[in-house]
Symmetry: C2
Subunit: 196 residues, 2 copies
């Protein structure tokens, strides 16, 4: 018998994030990822069905994490909807700050994944969006947020804006101060959703 050494699946995923970020999914080569992960090309196929499913796994793990953390925030009763909303933004920011390459991959390849309905990942993603919507609804109910806000539109606009900013930042961290970015986004959005 022989047992698996180390955590090759994680090594491959980490390498894939790095390479996908640098080359883009379609330009990235499996052999390149394998090299970065210090495994043989064929080994990738011991852990993943094919190239697509490597990307899908990256998305799944991220959105699951975001979803779970958002769930905790949503349930809190000690803070108001605005604070929940800010916490959520902070959480997402922090996550991508901790892993810029991941930010690039998510920002760049989401379209491809959503297009092909390859997205079992879509479960957590949709759930996360729903939680965000819940927070906004609560705020509207409590008259903290603007009554005319269309939730679908707001959430999509915000999401797209954030994604693009993170992508810019991840590609040239020096051009943007993330702190300033966070401040500005919060400011723009708050002034846009507050009723007074």
């Amino acid at each position: 018998m022989r047992t698996k050494e180390g955590n090759k699946e994680k090594d491959i995923l980490d390498a894939a994030i790095k390479i996908f970020a640098k080359e883009g999914f379609h330009q990235a080569k499996i052999s390149q990822i394998a090299k970065e992960a210090n495994v043989a090309t064929g080994s990738v196929y011991l852990y993943f069905k094919n190239k697509d499913s490597v990307l899908i796994k990256i998305f799944e793990e991220l959105w699951q994490k975001i979803y779970q953390e958002t769930k905790v925030i949503t349930k809190r009763t000690d803070i108001d909807p605005l604070e929940k909303f800010e916490n959520m933004l902070d959480m997402v920011f922090d996550l991508f700050i901790a892993n810029p390459s991941l930010a690039v991959v998510i920002a760049s390849e989401e379209h491809y994944l959503l297009r092909g309905k390859k997205g079992r990942f879509a479960n957590f993603y949709e759930s996360f969006l729903d939680l965000g919507e819940e927070i906004l609804k609560e705020g509207i109910k409590k008259k903290i947020f603007n009554q005319n806000l269309d939730l679908q539109i707001f959430r999509n606009f915000t999401f797209g804006g954030l994604r693009h900013l993170l992508h810019m930042w991840a590609n040239s961290p020096t051009d943007f101060s993330l702190t300033l970015m966070r401040q500005n986004v919060k400011y723009i959005l708050k002034k846009g959703i507050l009723s007074n």
Copy 2:
């Protein structure tokens, strides 16, 4: 001698926009585009150097158009910066509304093009962003817009948000009323940038 009949270059570009939107750039096949354009596969290479340059041409033409229209708006002296800003938003909205497939292509493939610096298209794109920035600067100077606004951040956030919304809309026009979308975006942004 023989002269070119019709406008095959335009036929190919239109077909490409349609196919790129439906399949995504990397999945789209030249033969498929040729078929859609009613030309032979090889004919595509009479008008374009390669697959990439078809995509680049699509971007070039769009951003040139947007840039030129923005330039007209910028120069006007009869309206204030806020109105200029709104006009600019309207213009971009109108353009994509008139051609949803184009919206999808732009939204989906921009990352790919920007990554590879394949972007001679970037000239008009950058110029457009600069014009937008000019409008904002003017508004800040005239104390119509918030003094603490970071232009880079604001423009990137707005751009990303709009792009994502248009992409959603282009993929399922029935889920979103564009009119409502336009209203909401203007509202969110205005409340975010107005100083009072």
